[in-house]
Symmetry: C2
Subunit: 316 residues, 2 copies
């Protein structure tokens, strides 16, 4: 990020985005669970992060769900209904071969061949280039699952990554997919390596990225441990969560903190996510000046910290 | 390589190969033309290297051609006729979409959108995992072409690489593909970045790799500049070369150095390759004790150095 912002190798201007770029970048996270930065200058949006991760894990590609959390994604949909290449979950978890998904094929392989190097999940497809005006070509080339010594390591190959916006949410969601995969394989979470072909910062974000880097360089003022995904997380867990997600997104229901904590039958880890969705419902649908303080109070300190930085209605 | 050999992160044993491994490795070559190492302990085989590169560039997948140069590849063929995933050229240059290859789709895109980040050429296919006993699953996940400032950069994503055998020939062939692509796009050769998910050294090669590393660390004793691929290299050049290749491989013809240099209508760069094929014909078919010295004499010094290290019949 330093490199791309301050010492770019290239200046590019593709498809209307003037940017500075470095080619061929990679880094590794030894603790991929610690996937959220707590920086005032880079207000991460935990509601969107969890929504996106769940949207992927459920294999979805509908604009309806993801556009509610990230209205900017509407411009990537060719038909106003579906996302294309960037619906990575649809590619990974949707049917691929005789009713089994790519994810199924790879996890079945890895259960039978633990030290395998073959657990590659390609995402980018050559067909995406056939239509020159395709607004949404997958940025994720593929994910590689490597079970070793009781841990699941993952290597991610991105063809391109916007270091300001894309990188943060991609690392969040992909490490969530990694942790979910580890659970399905009965393994612990290993290392996460992220590789990027074109690592770039758009010119109009460069100033902000510089401030974020300065803040990060002066050392983290706060940090919060991110909890472990429950070991019983399964496809049904995701489905169950998304029933509540939809009810809140469409404003058909409203939940109190107590209801979420005692009535939904969810593990505390996933209760946090429903708390976030209800908070977001209040912000979007009720357009409140102040959200229900009991909800904020029920949040983990790290998520509360992020919510109060991000949304004025949470900061009161 | 140091890491995998001396400080491996993991010891693996998949599909019968005990190996030491490092996960998530990458490096960059600023001059990818300098693609051959001149090391006594690691006798690179330039005949095989050029044969493999041409086999890829011609989009072939027949065992007949490649098995002549690398008999060990026979065990990777499921039917004794074709190679599978490792016939990367077949995937890249064979028909993919309405008669156009993946390579065609990407080069057409890049001619129209020079700063594009979309020029990704996926190779590994999820279908390869459907058959659990598949002997030949592509190790190459994809190649990414990035034209910038008049140069063509490339990033290569490997799911797995054997650092002793695979790495050397992969870097050779992929940088040849890069240089060929640069010519088709009217660009100069840029940088080459190689990323590997599972970087490993088989235990039974570890001793040799250690010697190679020691030799490399003590500084290169010799080095030879590798010439630039001629700017008129086109698909017909490859076809033309492979006519001669086949005639020599099947022992239907034999060429003198003079014939190669004056009668084949080939650029001196490609004459070198036919000289290598004729030398190999003499070794394989004539089983000579000493090859024709005029052929050896006509070789570029770097190739002569490699040939005399590799084959006793060239060393006399
Ligand atoms: N998950 C995603 C999706 C898009 N992106 C950004 O969106 C851009 C899409 O534009 P192109 O298709 O022109 O490359 C990517 O280059 C990348 O910067 C990202 O960084 N992460
Ligand atoms: N081009 C190639 C082809 C194969 N290989 C090696 O062959 C192995 C194939 O075994 P797997 O399919 O079990 O991974 C790879 O892991 C890799 O070590 C390579 O390194 N380069």
């Amino acid at each position: 990020m330093q490199l791309a912002t301050k010492e770019p190798e290239h200046r590019i201007d593709a498809r209307g985005n003037a940017a500075r770029e470095v080619i061929g970048v990679s880094f590794r996270l030894n603790n991929p669970r610690q996937r959220l930065p707590y920086l005032v200058e880079r207000k991460a949006n935990p509601v969107f992060q969890f929504a996106e991760a769940l949207w992927y894990l459920a294999g979805r590609r509908d604009l309806e769900m993801i556009g509610y959390y990230a209205p900017s994604m509407r411009s990537y949909s060719a038909d106003g209904i579906h996302l294309g290449g960037s619906a990575y979950g649809h590619t990974l978890f949707g049917p691929a071969h005789k009713g089994r998904s790519r994810f199924d094929l790879v996890t079945e392989l890895l259960l039978n061949e633990p030290d395998s190097k073959r657990g590659y999940l390609p995402v980018f497809s050559p067909a995406e280039l056939a239509d020159r005006s395709n607004p949404d070509v997958a940025c994720l080339a593929g994910l590689h699952l490597l079970p070793r010594d009781g841990h699941l390591n993952m290597v991610c190959n991105m063809r391109a990554n916007d270091l300001d916006c894309g990188l943060l949410s991609d690392v969040f969601s992909f490490t969530m997919i990694q942790e979910y995969a580890a659970i399905q394989l009965g393994l612990r979470l290993g290392t996460y390596t992220h590789t990027i072909g074109s690592a770039h910062v758009n010119d109009h974000n460069a100033e902000r990225v510089r401030r974020v880097l300065d803040e990060a360089a002066s050392g983290p003022v706060v940090n919060f441990p991110f909890p472990a995904m429950p070991l019983d997380t399964a496809p049904t867990t995701i489905e169950h969560l998304l029933v509540h997600e939809e009810a809140l997104r469409t404003n058909e229901l409203r939940y109190t903190a107590q209801h979420i904590q005692t009535r939904l039958g969810l593990h505390p880890y996933w209760q946090q996510v429903v708390l976030l969705f209800e908070l977001y419902r209040q912000i979007q649908h009720d357009q409140v000046d102040t959200v229900d303080p009991a909800l904020l109070h029920a949040l983990d300190p790290g998520l509360r910290w992020l919510m109060t930085r991000k949304w004025p209605a949470c900061a009161a």
